[in-house]
Subunit: 284 residues, 2 copies
Amino acid sequence: MKKVIFFGQKGSYSEKAMFEAQKICDFLDYEIESSSYIDEIIQEVGNSPDSVGILPVENSIEGIVRETVDKLIQADNSVKIFQEIVLPISHCLINKTGKIEDVKVVLSHPQALAQCSGYIKNLGNKYGYIVKKQTSVSTSEAVRLLDNYDDSYAAIANSEAANIYNKKIVDIGINDEADNKTRFICIGKKTTQKTGNDKTSFAFTTQNKSGALLDVLDILRQNKINMSHIDSRPSKKVLGEYIFCVDIDGHIDDICIKSSLEEIKKRVNYYRFFGSYSIKDIAG
Amino acid sequence: MKKVIFFGQKGSYSEKAMFEAQKICDFLDYEIESSSYIDEIIQEVGNSPDSVGILPVENSIEGIVRETVDKLIQADNSVKIFQEIVLPISHCLINKTGKIEDVKVVLSHPQALAQCSGYIKNLGNKYGYIVKKQTSVSTSEAVRLLDNYDDSYAAIANSEAANIYNKKIVDIGINDEADNKTRFICIGKKTTQKTGNDKTSFAFTTQNKSGALLDVLDILRQNKINMSHIDSRPSKKVLGEYIFCVDIDGHIDDICIKSSLEEIKKRVNYYRFFGSYSIKDIAG
């Protein structure tokens, strides 16, 4: 059974990203599922020849979604990124009563809580109390969970989630920075064609000696390849040992990219190719 | 009034780091304060000629403490790092009853919750329920807050915090990865002397053109300077625009470091020098 599994519940931002991806990728007839666990989605995609997953990977305010990156590093090498979708993010405060003065606890995914932390800090000031934060596995799950709590609980999610779970929107556009976007990735075992607007992602660890990372990056520089992003994740073994995650412009089918990555592979201790894929940006 | 302000409450890991720093830095006679807000500590240090702050900056499992890095970037340029302390981290599960079967909600700082997420996921399995996670501003604050909740709440913190707040230790060494360390920084307006075991940290943004980052890093490579860490934080303005945070081996009083950083300054849009400082690693 061919499946597409998006992160969160019905009404999540990842579901929105999936709808966008369906317009350009060939999985319109796939069975749709959702999961609140990033690691489960990546594992299921790894165990199936055809299934695809839709996951958030980076937010313009908070940075990379660490769990997505860390689990992708640990996943089977056959799991690759085949499409990127960029969505605008506009968070709403949602509860059961529609009254802002009822809100004493705010429930959401840690990234959404972080993106609205200034708003939450100010929320109780007017009424003389401190509003608490409680984490949920996704933004949509936070809205769904409101039924389990009393009227002092509110959720942060998008407006669709309020409609789906019959809750009230108390406030809109509550993210601390107005220009809030999230990158989502589509993962699976599909191969991609060069489109001319592509990006290639890979990860590596260098030998633990002076200048090793700079020597690797110099291969890109010498071949005039643009590195659009570099991030480091802890090896989780030794403090100060990192896995570097790099995005470059271009597709693995470009001869220059292919040969540069072959050269890099020879110089590193660990190498993981995440894929070459095109970008659909609907955040403008 | 000369003050040292550590992050969290009495019994926090940052207080431990402060005790270590007091042995080597000259602030033994300073008045001791604590604060649960990283931004407040950085601001207070910025507003005072003498005060110093002690903050967590990176954990070996979860990576950098984003709030510390982001607020340090925004802080007054006069606020610098003058010492680094590395501590081993061993988390305990702490509650009021001492009975593990009472635990239905676990309260702690988001980084501690993340470092024990596998443990928490398994915690309720034996008794057939899902243990919830709730965030607190620090690990020590989580223990202090237990008095406000019923017996279903537990905190994750170090064993000292359990003693200070008269709570029971239910389980020890609960972090998912045994080799868990955290780097703490001492910030203030002190100048530092070269010790021979120093590190220099700075941040910058490059011009938004192909190869700009690699051109900057090449200055380090050409001068045989070792880059021990690079991380990127979102500019928070445009998705895909980053502030790069770099650690290099050596002290700003080394001629080679000084001239390389002068060269880098000329090539970047934004430059922030965080300081040159020595490292005390008591994690072994």
